[in-house]
Symmetry: C2
Subunit: 88 residues, 2 copies
Amino acid sequence: MDLLKISKALADATRFKILKILMAKGEISCSELEGHFTLSQPTISHHSKILFDCGLIHAKKDGQHSLLSVNKKLLEKYLTSLKEELVK
Amino acid sequence: MDLLKISKALADATRFKILKILMAKGEISCSELEGHFTLSQPTISHHSKILFDCGLIHAKKDGQHSLLSVNKKLLEKYLTSLKEELVK
DNA sequence: TCAATATATAGATATATTTCAATATATCTT
DNA sequence: AAGATATATTGAAATATATCTATATATTGA
């Protein structure tokens, strides 16, 4: 787990919102995700990729769709590690 | 507390290291802090300012020195809020 | 096979960030 | 008062990031 990479991924309003939406909705397609933003499709794709690259989201191919969801295990691990690194 | 601003402040290797040093040492001057880096004095001053501006560090004037320390209350609050916003 | 839909990638532009050298300001010491 | 030390600010350069349009790729359905 790359703590810094995950921190950078989270330090952006759009990506933070993506995570929150995914946490609330469970598993949704890219197009459904795009519906929550006024940003363009490539921009949402770009941000999703950054979240995927640091491991924070899963992507499951389902036909022409990609179903995105949060990697809750890693998210928990990140929150725990952040606390351990800084506070303990 | 500005969650995004704090997240951005933490999402940098130098600033993360500054926080860790301050957590370990308690209260130290800027010059002592600089000793832990190969970066220039203005660069460390710049990063310290970003941490100060989001509230994560205190700065107490002591003669010609500025004594820096972590705002542990806010750091704890941040870690709690981050978890609440994302996980709950 | 062809058109439509979903997602990804490329390339360009605008903005933000990191860094340093130079300089300013404040305080201490002699 | 003058020199030394500590910190902050300015201005510039290099790099990174966010965003868009245009286009590519993949999949579905008629």
